[in-house]
Amino acid sequence: MVTESPLSSDELSAWAVRPNCGAVVTFSGVVRNHSRDHDDVLALEYETNPKFAEARLNEIVEVARERWTSLEAIAIHHRIGRVELSETTVVVAVSSPHRSDAFDAARFCIDTLKETVPMWKREFWDGGSAWSEDTSPLLDTPRP
């Protein structure tokens, strides 16, 4: 899902714990102080069409479930709007009885998200802002 509220990797990670799962992998994307073009980033601002973004996030989750059938819980939450330095922009949480599948699926989710979800970030630094130039052409969701 996409949300304008602060994200908590804790909540999603706790949600992913299941009695039959020995492994929970969490990826958190965090606003860092530098980008490809600026070394004094203060905040990011994400813009999207939430309907498009959520549809694509759901497709990623579906494909991951087909590729790694051992997965139990899996979710992707992406924050939109303005996000300050060190705040969380995206959380992926995956649980499985098998840690290898949990790692592979979590990585697939974040790697795929960056290429298939319509989402644009603006970088804010002291005195200015611009759209991020660290972009990827928008691709279709990969097949399972």
Binding site: G29, Y46, E47, T48, N49, K51, F52, A53, A55, H78, T89, V90, I110, L113, K114, E115, T116, V117, P118, M119, W120, K121, W131, S132, D134, T135, S136, P137, L138, D140
Partner: protein, 78 residues
Amino acid sequence: MARLILLGPARDAAGVGVDTVDGDSLEVVLVEAVRRYGPKFEAILEVSRVWVNGEPADSAAPISHDDEISVLPPVSGG
């Protein structure tokens, strides 16, 4: 005629986020959009994907008045 949705850098380049543009095919609508918004928008359009009603579409796709056309520049989520 169709509803044109310009997102992210495409919105900035066009100076507008939502517009109404005439045309009975996707190609015709986009030519009219370029005429209206100028070369900065054209440069972004060239590297963008265009969806009709939330789905990738061909430039020959016929357009009717309740269609929604979205211009999606290269993405930077995550």
